[in-house]
Symmetry: C2
Subunit: 214 residues, 2 copies
DNA sequence: CACTAAGTAGAATGATCGATCTATCTAATT
DNA sequence: AATTAGATAGATCGATCATTCTACTTAGTG
């Protein structure tokens, strides 16, 4: 029942309206109408619309990274397969009928280019996602995990953006094959080394399981 | 002197404000103040703000594709090098101190997700860019030029987006190496094959013609 | 000169923006 | 029962939103 506090209702309503109609296009009146709360509750809890936007992006980041982490976890046990599993997860995401892209990217895209609030929140979110990918790349035994993570993240953001415009979930598959080409040419051999022949079998099994999206 | 007509002044002012502050955040009053024209001139010429946004995106697409075509042309004569030259061109673009990303992507990101006007204009623009890349991939002798073009365009959009958030032009170099990995694994051997000396002339002629769009 | 087309300045429209201020009510704590 | 914190509805603020209107000026054409 903690989810139904006034603050949570406002946050949920704001999220729905922000991601669908855009942050700037969404007014306070719409938010409190959707939330069914009083106007002053919003200002007492979040201070201003900027404060609400900040809270929204923070929450969105937490939720998204939580989903992403468990989507990778669910799919495969070997790190290398989990790297490719990124794009199977994206495929599920893109297939949602109310897919709206990345809230952070959208926020940066619509905000004033001199504004640093939204941009800083986005940089922090992307930094954390990058760290997740880099860890997988490291565990998979790639020589330059940081470099590889940046390249995979770039492919991810490309897929997220293209999917937003085209509304075609198969973009995820295209991105997956691009990532596959990248991995096949990436140098291997860090301290901990790649998966041994034992885990190779697992890879095949896991890749099959990953083939079915949502 | 045709560039200084009232309509052009309005279009230029709108462009400056739209790309810097966002379309929704820019009011009619700001635009006419920046343009130094009368309010009614805007409505007589463009009908409404939506009409002005449409004209802005059309123009932006023409200008960008013109720049892109000549940037590829200027760099290399062999089609395969021109494919990689895409990302050198992006590097120049990202290095502009007032880099604001892709106006189309930004417009889609900030528009209501049910709105089809902005999205259709964006799809048309991306389709034309895709055609340019596909032609190069075809001339370079790749077996599946359409597929490769989609993948390269995905890397492009990823780089455009990441550069918008990070403001780091070196993203272009990272994208270039990702594309390099992709090209190195892509199947070769279409009907016309990689450019022989005979077809090189044709390629050069065609690329030259394409260099001057608007 | 008369006519036309295009641009100008500025008032005015009703709606909505984010934000503030009451005044009332409810629920939990003391 | 008295107190207190939080939520409520709703009026109100000045500013801005996109759009329309009128009246005046200018440039070009017959």
């Amino acid at each position: 029942m903690q989810d139904t506090t006034s603050a949570e209702k406002i946050l949920g309503a704001a999220r729905r309206l922000f991601v669908r109609n855009g942050i700037h296009a969404t007014g306070i009146d719409q938010i409190i109408a959707e939330a069914g709360t009083a106007r002053m509750t919003l200002y007492n809890r979040f201070g201003s619309k900027d404060g609400l936007v900040t809270a929204f992006l923070r929450r969105e980041g937490e939720v998204w990274r939580g989903w992403f982490a468990q989507a990778l976890e669910r799919r495969a046990t070997a790190p290398e397969d989990r790297l490719l599993g990124i794009f199977d997860a994206l495929g599920e995401w893109f297939s949602q009928d109310d897919y709206y892209g990345c809230a952070f990217i959208n926020a940066v895209a619509e905000s004033c280019k001199d504004d640093d609030l939204v941009r800083d929140l986005t940089l922090e979110h992307k930094r954390q996602v990058l760290a997740m990918i880099e860890r997988l790349a490291d565990e998979a035994g790639f020589a330059e995990p940081a470099r590889l993570a940046h390249q995979l993240a770039l492919i991810m953001d490309g897929a997220i953006t293209v999917a937003l415009v085209t509304r075609d979930p198969s973009v995820a598959h295209m991105a997956r094959e691009t990532a596959k080409a990248l991995l096949s040419t990436a140098a291997r051999g860090n301290a901990r080394g790649p998966a041994d022949s034992e885990s190779d079998k697992k890879i095949d099994r896991r890749a099959k399981a990953a083939a079915e999206p949502a």
